[in-house]
């Protein structure tokens, strides 16, 4: 069961990635990339990494891709060739991918109620994960937090340097 699901989800991830890198419109590319991330998150779950799967959706699909979308819309990068009438052919691949992902989710829930049975031979529970992360890798966690702080300061500086002088003083 997990093996079949793995191959289906791999096909969805690869197809969504292929559609993503070939789009002209960045908004469409971001939407397809979100599909690829959802498929990848379910693959992570099947490989015994439930916490990583949750963070894949929360951080990648939820935060980073929304940031991309925000920048695309703020800078008006998407081409606005709005034709009268809806072009329904655009929706077919995205609907197919979404339907496949939804069916895979239901299959996981239906064949594995409670997430206890049918797990792969290796399964890192959040407790194991947290112990390893904050005991063996405590120094690395500190370093990564510094990295995030420096990135925030750098992003603030770059965003500030772009303003014209005195534009915000008036």
């Amino acid at each position: 069961m997990e093996t079949i699901l793995f191959y289906i989800l791999s096909a969805v991830a690869l197809l969504a990635t292929l559609l993503c890198v070939t789009r002209r419109n960045p908004v469409h590319a971001v939407i397809y990339l979100v599909h690829a991330f959802f498929a990848l998150a379910m693959i992570f779950f099947l490989l015994g990494a439930p916490l990583v799967a949750a963070w894949e959706i929360i951080i990648y699909a939820g935060a980073i891709m929304v940031l991309f979308m925000f920048i695309i819309m703020m800078l008006e990068l998407a081409p606005s060739e709005e034709t009268p009438g809806m072009d329904w052919a655009v929706f077919i691949p995205v609907l197919l991918l979404s339907a496949t992902l939804l069916c895979a989710t239901f299959a996981i829930i239906a064949f594995d109620p409670g997430g206890a049975d049918g797990l792969p031979s290796y399964y890192a529970s959040p407790r194991t994960f947290g112990y390893a992360l904050f005991k063996e890798y405590a120094l690395a966690v500190e370093v990564v937090s510094f990295q995030l702080l420096f990135a925030a300061v750098g992003a603030f500086y770059v965003g500030r340097a772009g303003r014209r002088k005195g534009r915000w003083m008036r």
């Binding site: 990635t17 890198v21 990339l33 990494a49 916490l51 940031l67 991309f68 800078l75």
Partner: protein
């Protein structure tokens, strides 16, 4: 392991190559960043596969560090995209070639 590790590596390699092609071929800065995201996710898939293969949690922990690094990278690079757009009015990579040397 639910599948052989070689299949996981094949899927991740295909994904990485698509991201690499996106970075090399596209001229839009946003699409280049999306290609980098795809490549980093392929690396994450390899790490989780290795974690499942060797029955250790370390691979998954490295995926978390990878996500933190990605968040930092995306924050800075999107700020730079906004800066470059303000400066030149375009985000085509061809517009920023003064340092050719």
């Amino acid at each position: 392991m639910i599948v052989p590790i070689s299949h996981i590596i094949m899927v991740a390699t295909a994904m990485f190559l698509m991201g690499l092609g996106c970075v090399m071929a596209r001229r839009n800065l946003i699409m280049i960043l999306i290609g980098v995201e795809i490549m980093l996710n392929a690396v994450g898939l390899i790490l989780v596969g290795g974690s499942a293969l060797w029955q250790k949690v370390d691979g998954q922990i490295f995926v978390i560090f990878l996500m933190a690094m990605t968040a930092a990278e995306v924050g800075i690079s999107l700020a730079m995209v906004v800066y470059l757009q303000r400066r030149k009015g375009t985000i085509s990579a061809n517009a920023f070639d003064e340092m050719s040397g």
